[in-house]
């Protein structure tokens, strides 16, 4: 490929003009042992590429080469020795041919126009942005029309951009179709300004119906659309939580909030009194520990009158519930299910109530082996403990999740479970059963025990289990601000047993059998800090490189120190990922930290 060299060596006026338009910006690193002039003549001499209009920027030399071919040629010389160092070349922003640099440029534009304090992204009046103009983004109509969608697309991949308010005024928008992805990018947008555009079709906004459920304020002034008679009605219809439209209050915010908010916030724990809180937490912890490891030992807790039954709730939660297992398998449970909405035979209902340690023990063996994470992931569990005076005992209900870790040892009749399906004699039950129906998976459950204290121990009078498809729960507040939160539950931070204990000790004392109505301070004290603080926004590439333990540590540090993500990371790294060391380092240096090191 000598074309490049040929061009450079045969410059004429025409070519020069052409070249001016095709210039590509490049950067050179690791040149510092010589002067810029030395560097340029070396490059020109050795690589036969001329870098023009160069200047020094930070630790690099930035300049222009005449063509893309020149730039590509230059790249081939990466690593070339020059006065004791290896030169490094980089093509900077080459909009026409390189998408990755365009993305970088868009990113920079976005961050320049983003104010983290107010969570405001200002994309107003883009056509007069000097940087964008100098990049020639408005030279062709095609690039012009792609600019805003392009910026929004790049924005959707930036989890650090938490945007409450978006300004799109003065952008000559005629049709919001070009912004159709906006609702996916910022589903929780609260304020949107579209003023001074040319939006005229009211129907075109229908693409935003049932989107922007949190939109509080909309500014559309100086758009033809506002002249329509239906304008206000339509905006109220499209945005169910709209309070302010074009600077006029259209809904009573207090009334709206009372309509769309339940009168009390959901609580993860309720204990009728302190003592019941700690004893039921102990009971549940020990019970599940044995349930996961050695169910036989639990049988001591059941008397001949004790009862156990399982109900399978196969109803499918809506697909909009997070982490839903849309294809659950209940093969191991269905033959024991006592869900009387589904099981019509009275005989089966009687048979599936298991009475006394022997029968209960058989069922325990016929259930898949499990693992609960009460200690490690206490946010995944919710519990209520209430006195049950008619039995001189207590009612404990636990909601949560377990992993199925192994198949049951026995089937429900106490026979050794068949090793292979072909050797199973009960073929008629096998009909239509595929391994898929017996697949081991995560399940959500609700379990209620009626326990009666007796001689320093407890007896389980009643044990009711509901097994249902796995879903993310309603009580924990690990809400991600952006729509795509594909993080595995690993990122959910184990708050450890202390949080459960803290929640218990946080409940008010006074063992009244009729508790006071919704004590507010109890709500706050019981509130467990959110697992992954939404304010801890790590860049995805950084987060991907961290182990769950490191993420856990970051989260804890972040919550403890209120440092922002960047400083939390620095602190953790400098302390060798040791929580105690990091905390000490933080305490000694707290006075020297800039205010922008903290969560704003």
């Amino acid at each position: 490929m000598n074309g490049g060299f040929h061009n450079v060596n045969n410059i004429n006026a025409m070519a020069q003009q052409q070249a001016q338009q095709n210039r590509v910006r490049v950067a050179v690193y690791n040149w510092q042992n010589a002067t810029v002039q030395d560097l340029l003549s070396y490059i020109s001499r050795t690589m036969r590429v001329a870098i023009q209009d160069s200047f020094v920027e930070d630790n690099r030399v930035v300049g222009f080469v005449n063509t893309k071919t020149d730039a590509d040629n230059l790249m081939k010389w990466n690593g070339m020795r020059f006065s004791g160092q290896n030169l490094k070349f980089e093509i900077l922003d080459d909009i026409s041919s390189s998408t990755s640099t365009t993305i970088t440029f868009f990113r920079n534009t976005l961050f320049k126009r983003y104010d983290p304090q107010s969570k405001m992204l200002n994309l107003g009046n883009l056509y007069n942005d000097p940087d964008l103009v100098s990049q020639g983004l408005f030279s062709k109509p095609s690039t012009q029309s792609k600019l805003l969608p392009g910026l929004l697309k790049v924005a959707s991949k930036e989890p650090q951009l938490i945007v409450d308010s978006l300004n799109l005024s003065d952008n000559s928008i005629k049709d919001v179709k070009s912004l159709s992805t906006l609702a996916q990018t910022f589903p929780n947008l609260k304020n949107l300004c579209l003023a001074n555009n040319q939006i005229f079709k009211i129907q075109s906004l229908d693409i935003w119906k049932n989107k922007f459920k949190e939109l509080r304020e909309l500014l559309m002034t100086n758009n033809p659309i506002t002249n329509s008679q239906m304008y206000k009605t339509e905006m109220l219809r499209l945005f169910p939580k709209l309070i302010v439209l074009d600077n006029v209050i259209v809904r009573d915010e207090q009334k709206l909030n009372s309509i769309f908010t339940l009168p009390m916030k959901i609580q993860q724990f309720f204990f009728e009194n302190n003592e019941l809180g700690s004893s039921s937490t102990d009971f549940v912890t020990n019970f599940l520990n044995l349930w996961d490891n050695d169910r036989n030992q639990l049988l001591n807790l059941y008397t001949p009158q004790s009862q156990f039954s399982i109900a399978v709730d196969t109803s499918q939660p809506p697909s909009t519930v997070e982490e839903l297992d849309a294809n659950p398998s209940f093969g191991y449970y269905l033959s024991m299910s006592r869900n009387i909405c589904k099981v019509s035979s009275e005989k089966s209902i009687q048979q599936r109530l298991y009475l006394g340690p022997e029968f209960i023990g058989n069922v325990f063996k016929a259930l898949p082996k499990s693992k609960h994470y009460l200690q490690e992931r206490s946010n995944d569990y919710s519990m209520e403990a209430i006195a049950y005076p008619q039995v001189n005992g207590f009612l404990i209900t636990l909601h949560g999740v377990f992993d199925e870790v192994a198949k049951p040892d026995f089937d429900i009749n106490g026979k050794q479970a068949a090793k292979s399906s072909t050797s199973n004699r009960n073929r008629r039950y096998n009909h239509g059963h595929s391994p898929a129906t017996n697949r081991l998976s995560k399940k959500s459950f609700d379990r209620t025990w009626v326990i009666v204290p007796m001689n320093n121990t407890v007896v389980i009078a009643s044990d009711l289990l509901t097994v249902r498809p796995f879903v993310s729960n309603a009580w924990s507040t690990k809400q991600q601000p952006q729509s795509q939160s594909q993080q595995s539950p690993v990122a959910g931070i184990p708050t450890g047993p202390s949080s459960a204990a803290g929640a218990i000790s946080g409940t008010p004392t006074g063992a009244t059998s009729t508790p006071p109505i919704i004590p507010n301070q109890q709500q706050q004290q019981q509130q467990i800090p959110p697992a992954l603080a939404p304010t801890l926004q790590l860049p995805p590439n950084v987060q991907a490189g961290l182990t769950p333990i490191q993420l856990d540590l970051l989260s804890k540090l972040h919550l403890q120190t209120k440092l922002n993500a960047e400083y939390t990371y620095m602190l953790a790294e400098q302390s060798g990922w040791n929580y105690d060391v990091a905390l000490k380092a933080f305490q000694t240096s707290i006075n020297n930290l800039p205010s922008n090191a903290f969560i704003q």
Binding site: T261, F270, V321, D446, I517
Partner: protein, 174 residues
């Protein structure tokens, strides 16, 4: 030993009873409130809703009537155990519930600021617009008198908790 009295039709009676309870929760008519209230043991009844306790059934039902939008429950699972000697049984219930997201409360009032111009179309339709389903777990302690057709004050414990929430709902529970 109440177990001995276990005759047939228990499951049917319980299922009917629970469906009746859920219908009462979904009922908009204030005049039916008194009948619903009569099911609760008025001297000693424990009511927990989403982890928050209520001193009296009346306070809970009033709040439900006045501060909730219209609901629609669907029973998905029911299991029960009669506890011998206690005269009571425990019911373990799972249900789905969805809320009216039309922006009106149970009395049909919305949050719109009336200025005379926005009466077109938006308010004429008073049908509820139900959102996606939430998951509910409900535990009840009730007297076994219901098998003898006596429903007066039978509920002594009502533990209602939401299990999952759809992301597309307008209703906030946090």
């Amino acid at each position: 030993m109440n177990q001995g009295a276990a005759t047939s039709h228990q499951p049917e009676i319980l299922q009917t009873f629970i469906k009746k309870i859920l219908l009462h929760l979904d009922d908009n008519e204030t005049k039916n409130l008194q009948q619903f209230l009569s099911y609760f043991n008025n001297t000693n009844c424990k009511i927990i809703f989403n982890g928050a306790p209520f001193a009296q059934p009346m306070i809970f039902l009033q709040m439900w009537q006045e501060q909730f939008v219209q609901t629609q429950h669907a029973l998905t699972s029911l299991d029960y155990q009669i506890i011998p000697g206690s005269g009571t049984m425990i019911l373990n219930i799972n249900s789905k519930v969805r809320f009216d997201e039309s922006g009106r409360d149970r009395l049909g009032q919305d949050a719109l600021i009336k200025d005379g111009s926005n009466r077109g179309g938006l308010n004429n339709n008073t049908r509820p617009i139900f959102g996606s389903y939430f998951g509910v777990s409900l535990q009840l302690v009730i007297d076994d008198r219901i098998f003898r057709n006596d429903f007066n004050g039978v509920i002594s414990c009502f533990n209602y908790n939401m299990l999952y929430k759809p992301e597309d709902s307008l209703i906030k529970i946090h």
